[in-house]
């Protein structure tokens, strides 16, 4: 499991690199790069930071991943998770940050 960064979209703001708990992302020539892809813990901190949704998260094939790319979009209290399937379908799940888990 790891992340992919779309270097065309990336504006080099450095926010994803700042928060990674493993400091795995670096800014090189004004673009974010994941320096140690196999060291990613999968915490998704970086994708929640990116203002242009250039960082996407995926599950490795070794843990049963099927190639979907995941990012989040925030508006107000809503954190929307978007899971783009390889066939183009997108699953969206909205989380209200003011609401507790039911379980």
């Amino acid at each position: 499991m790891s992340i992919m960064i779309d270097s065309i979209k990336c504006v080099g703001c450095g926010k994803c690199a700042a928060v990674c708990p493993g400091s795995l992302i670096r800014i090189e020539e004004k673009k974010a790069v994941i320096k140690y892809p196999k060291d990613c813990w999968g915490c998704t901190s970086c994708i929640k930071e990116c203002p242009v949704h250039a960082v996407k998260f995926y599950l490795g094939a070794d843990i049963g991943g099927q190639g979907s790319l995941v990012h989040t979009e925030e508006s107000g209290d809503i954190l929307r998770w978007l899971i783009e399937h390889p066939d183009g379908r997108v699953t969206e799940i909205d989380i209200n940050r003011k609401e507790s888990n039911k379980y």
């Binding site: 499991m1 790891s2 700042a18 928060v19 990674c20 708990p21 493993g22 400091s23 320096k35 196999k38 060291d39 990613c40 813990w41 999968g42 915490c43 998704t44 901190s45 998260f57 599950l59 490795g60 094939a61 070794d62 843990i63 049963g64 991943g65 099927q66 979907s68 995941v70 954190l79 998770w81 899971i83 399937h85 699953t91 799940i93 989380i95 940050r97 003011k98 609401e99 507790s100 888990n101 039911k102 379980y103």
Partner: protein
């Protein structure tokens, strides 16, 4: 490397759960005290809380007392806990919970404004942003300085009194000598000692943060601090592949552990944390695997709530459900045991401390997963210990001056770091040695490969091999400051491995299946091992110290500490 000296009243190493709360406590009760937090990543999302947490696992619910929590933890650990530490922690659990809520954590309440509980000890929350909430509060404190991306590698100790620490900026490459009147170590536990469940591309998809590498333990061990109960390893029962927590399924929707025949097996082996892991191992050995949490038949509304709950703490599991097209109501969730970790917040391994969380080194305090004797801390217990250590450290420094770390002492540690940056390229990389270490631990010190079991001969071999890897790691070479951190992380882990092996060897009994299952001594031996197994590095050798249990209602003090 450029070298700089910093001075502070209290140095907090690790800006995680405990470290952040320690800083908040000092700022509130001792506003004039200067605090420096050195964090290897960035306090916004560093440590255990990065992805969020699912619930507050440690809370004293209505009608219960702190002592009930002590009794529960003692039973779960088959007696090897410190009741005095558990009680002082439990007494603060509710206070820190209310504080978290004030800082912005969403906690579920009923129509009367009371917290909604899950079982006897848990509260339901939205824990996705728990770490940014803590970090924002800390960043707003005037007398607290946060240095992110500073990796601490060693303590400075003279005559058993703490003087500060050494570390370096992983971006800047600046070498820091930090003088402090007191130090709180809050670096979390140790992951990555053993070969993980998925050693290939997803090698870091482990439960415990792979970036908590046991630095705090290693620094303490090197400086002669006493450690306790490292042999009580923690092995988590987790969702297969994603290694996501299972509590939400087990306690949230009441899913039972079943084998592939659909039989509920948990009652057969017992319900303590280690017995649940052991039961799953045994069902697999006896041909009734794989094992599952029985979620089939839950409602679509429950499915939906689970998808959301997992996004708030372990998003991979939700993605897995969505990708497979099978919701938990349609398919039971397969479970497996993880590789072993050392985590003083779940089991009892870590620094040997008094009730102020002072270690056996004067002026050095330990809080959270790095601190021993006090299992089942979880988030709120880590906050509570952060508070206890902070108050004690702030009182300890009153009237003290900042100790001096001499240039010649700095030179020793600086030259070690520079050696890795400048030396010739050796045959091996840090990555190869890390893999070798994990393979050794997996094969000879009770990893997944041997169903967590070991015998004395295997442990002896493990120790020999770890020692050899330590020698090889002397010559490693770093191309960047980040790689320099990788080298230190590897060396920390090797130090922790050696102490762990010594502890596993010393407890010649099997009290906890899976956590410490010695095939040469398959039974529990209360006569000889109703005691703490502690250790200390003396003249380069690990010395084992057996200590009597601190009885119910008793309080342990460091009376035999040398300084």
């Amino acid at each position: 490397m450029k070298s700089e000296k910093l001075t502070t009243d209290i140095l907090i190493i690790g800006g995680g759960t405990s470290g952040c709360y320690g800083a908040l406590t000092i700022a509130e009760s001792f506003p004039d005290v200067k605090v420096l937090i050195c964090e290897k990543a960035n306090i916004k999302r560093s440590g255990c809380l990065a992805a969020g947490v699912n619930a507050l696992n440690a809370y004293i619910t209505e009608g219960r007392k702190p002592q009930d929590y002590v009794d529960y933890a003692r039973k779960d650990a088959d007696g090897i806990v410190r009741g005095d530490l558990l009680l002082t922690m439990s007494e603060l659990l509710n206070e820190v919970t209310e504080r978290l809520e004030k800082l912005g954590l969403v906690i579920l309440k009923d129509e009367n404004g009371k917290y909604v509980t899950r079982g006897n000890r848990n509260l339901k929350i939205n824990g996705e942003n728990i770490k940014p909430i803590l970090a924002d509060a800390v960043n707003a404190l005037p007398n607290v300085t946060v240095m992110n991306r500073v990796n601490i590698t060693d303590f400075s100790v003279s005559d058993n009194v703490i003087k500060g620490a050494f570390g370096f900026g992983i971006d800047s490459g600046i070498f820091y000598t930090i003088e402090a009147k007191a130090v709180i170590v809050a670096t979390g536990g140790a992951a990555g000692l053993y070969k993980p469940n998925n050693p290939g591309f997803s090698r870091h998809k482990m439960w415990y943060p792979p970036f908590n590498t046991g630095a705090g333990y290693a620094m303490g061990i090197k400086s002669g601090a006493e450690m306790t109960t490292l042999e009580m390893r923690f092995i988590a029962l987790r969702c297969k592949d994603t290694i996501a927590p299972t509590g939400t399924l087990a306690q949230g929707v009441g899913a039972k552990q079943v084998n592939s025949l659909g039989e509920v097996y948990e009652t057969k082996y017992g319900l303590t944390t280690s017995q649940r892991v052991y039961g799953t191992v045994m069902e697999n050995i006896e041909g009734r695997g794989p094992c599952y949490l029985r979620t089939e038949g839950i409602t679509p509304e429950q499915d939906e709530s689970l998808l959301k709950a997992y996004l708030n703490m372990a998003p991979s599991q939700t993605i897995k459900w969505i990708e497979s097209g099978k919701m938990p109501s349609q398919q039971n969730v397969e479970i497996e045991g993880t590789e072993p970790y050392i985590v003083g917040g779940h089991t009892a391994g870590g620094y040997w401390v008094d009730t102020n969380r002072q270690t056996t080194i004067t002026g050095l305090y330990a809080a959270g997963d790095v601190s021993g004797g006090c299992p089942q801390k979880y988030v709120t217990g880590a906050l509570a210990e952060g508070k206890i250590a902070a108050l004690a450290a702030a009182e300890y420094i009153s009237g003290r001056t900042v100790p001096e770390i001499t240039e010649s002492e700095t030179a020793v540690y600086l030259s070690e770091a520079e050696k890795y940056l400048s030396g010739p390229k050796p045959r091996f990389t840090y990555e190869q040695l890390e893999e070798a270490m994990q393979t050794v631990m997996d094969s000879y010190a009770g990893g997944i490969k041997t169903n967590y079991r070991f015998n004395e001969k295997q442990l002896t071999l493990a120790d020999e091999k770890i020692l050899m890897l330590m020698k090889l790691s002397d010559d490693l070479h770093a191309e960047s400051f980040h790689e320099l951190m990788f080298i230190y992380e590897l060396r920390e882990r090797l130090i922790v491995c050696r102490s762990l092996i010594a502890h596993l060897k010393a407890r010649k009994e099997t009290r906890w299946h899976s956590f410490a299952e010695n095939l040469d001594y398959p039974d529990r031996d209360d006569k000889n091992f109703s005691c703490y197994v502690n250790s200390k590095l003396v003249d380069g050798e690990i010395k084992i110290i057996k200590r009597e249990l601190v009885g119910e209602g008793q309080i342990y003090e460091h009376n035999d500490r040398q300084h």
